[in-house]
């Protein structure tokens, strides 16, 4: 299978300058390869660095050592050393990230929030809105909410908007940080289906799923993480 994401020798320690320079080692010497069509679930107790690793794969956190290479337009790009512009380009076309929380943009209606990644990718507005509507329906977001900004929605509704936005562009590499955390069983099943479809079309997926049933349903393999010993 085609290698889509390759983590090699990655290490991260947070240094808290405002708190006397305390160093918090999170992990080191991590290696992980993910191929097209595969879903790897990061597994370990709270504090093991699952979210930090996922955020490092999105270049939201900068590792202290190692490479995080992503297949972008036919070649592997190392996000740990790439320019900001290259990282933004990789995020726009290749790398999708669904966090636990929606970062709300004031005033922008839900339908536009979901359609935005498609429009940025060059799709015309009408088609983008049609696909956003289909995605929102599928995730059971009521149509009466589509024209409203999601700021006032419930936690579960916001999360479904977030998932719709994160999955709509069908990115080749997807990072999912507990996308099902505040969803009911029916909507969790929809997410499991969406993940299965993404794998089917060849997406490489790395995720964090605390719910054992969801994890078993989506994971091809687990990547175990253990809390780092204090340095």
């Amino acid at each position: 299978m085609t290698l889509m994401l390759s983590v090699q020798g990655v290490a991260k320690t947070f240094t808290l300058h405002t708190q006397g320079g305390v160093k918090i080692p999170v992990f080191r010497d991590l290696d992980l390869d993910v191929s097209a069509g595969e879903c790897v679930v990061l597994h370990g107790p709270s504090g093991a660095g699952k979210s930090t690793l996922l955020r490092a794969m999105y270049a939201n956190v900068l590792p202290d050592a190692g490479e995080i290479r992503v297949r972008h337009g036919g070649r592997m790009v190392d996000l740990a050393s790439a320019s900001s512009r290259t990282v933004l380009q990789v995020r726009r076309h290749t790398l999708g990230y669904v966090s636990q929380f929606l970062s709300v943009i004031p005033r922008v209606p839900t339908l536009n929030v979901v359609a935005e990644p498609l429009i940025r990718d060059g799709l015309d507005i009408d088609t983008a809105h049609e696909r956003a509507a289909a995605m929102l329906s599928r995730l059971n977001v009521p149509e009466r909410l589509w024209s409203l900004a999601p700021a006032t929605f419930s936690g579960g509704e916001q999360q479904r908007v977030n998932i719709a936005r994160g999955l709509i562009a069908e990115m080749p590499v997807l990072l999912l940080d507990e996308p099902t955390a505040s969803l009911d069983a029916a909507n969790r099943d929809v997410v499991v289906e969406l993940v299965a479809e993404a794998k089917q079309r060849g997406a490489a997926i790395v995720g964090i799923f605390h719910d054992a049933a969801t994890r078993d349903a989506v994971a091809d393999r687990l990547y175990p993480l253990t809390p780092a010993k204090a340095a």
Partner: protein, 269 residues
């Protein structure tokens, strides 16, 4: 559905629109800013954050020709591809740039508007400075821009002095953007406005910058504004850039002690 053709293009090979090298400004013995270098590409929004006295406004004023820097280069790539140092351009050419291809949005709209001529004329004036002469077309463009910044077109003939602060700021943005500038400077564009008005303005700026594909330098002390608008950030302290990078990376994984202090000082709502 990903557009592999555009994705495959190596963007680092595109020449930047603006390259600033080693820019410095002193006020007597006091440091305004120094050793500031960065590149800016079309469609990119660069945020400059820092506290009062960090040098961010001095930097913006040097870049936008409000004051003269005393060292370094401001290399601008013209439409024809030629690169020239703004600092050594003859005065008429500098003024021509500032009239059309460059735009400046002041923190206080009163500094960027003429309060005793109509809203429509404020917008039309910049077009006329660029050579537009046809009254109907100028008025049409003015009304189009008023509605784009969400000002009712029946206010076209009103004086901006009668507008609220938020409306004045939106009018200033319309006046600045009407010429389709390739490079826009904004100094605390939401400063001094009510929070509810800020959100509207931010969303508007975000949409317009996206639509026009202009490169933009925004100075702000508000990290939430920076997160919403800027692709990249430079953090300034004591006249120098102490940290720079992707906006979310700088804010979520700050490395410099000063950036960590700034980020940790924001009150959570």
């Amino acid at each position: 559905m990903n557009l592999v053709s555009t994705a495959a293009r190596d963007l680092d090979d595109d020449p930047p629109l603006l390259s600033v090298r080693n820019l410095a400004k002193h006020y007597g013995n006091a440091l305004g800013c120094r050793a500031v270098s960065f590149d800016l590409w079309p469609g990119e929004v660069l945020g400059i954050v820092g506290e009062s006295g960090s040098g961010k406004t001095t930097l913006l004023n040097c870049l936008s020709g409000q004051i003269d820097a005393d060292g370094g280069e401001i290399l601008y790539r013209h439409r024809d591809g030629e690169v020239a140092d703004f600092r050594t351009l003859p005065e008429p050419q500098r003024r021509a740039l500032l009239r059309g291809e460059w735009g400046l949005v002041h923190q206080n709209p009163r500094d960027g508007l003429r309060l005793r001529v109509s809203a429509g004329a404020n917008i039309g004036e910049r077009l006329m400075a660029e050579g537009a002469r046809h009254y109907g077309e100028i008025r049409g463009a003015a009304m189009n821009w008023l509605s784009r910044v969400e000002i009712a077109t029946d206010r076209t003939d009103d004086l901006p002095i009668r507008f609220s602060g938020g409306m004045q700021q939106r009018l200033q943005i319309a006046r600045t953007l009407v010429t389709g500038p390739r490079l826009v400077f904004m100094d605390e564009p939401t400063g001094g406005l009510d929070v509810s008005v800020q959100a509207r303005l931010l969303d508007l700026i975000r949409g317009l910058v996206d639509e026009l594909g202009a490169a933009c330098v925004i100075v702000t002390h508000d990290l939430a504004v920076a997160r919403l608008l800027a692709h990249r950030l430079m953090v300034m302290k004591g006249g120098e850039v102490v940290e720079a990078g992707l906006t979310d990376q700088v804010l979520d994984d700050p490395h410099h002690p000063y950036t960590q202090l700034l980020v940790s000082s924001v009150l959570q709502v």
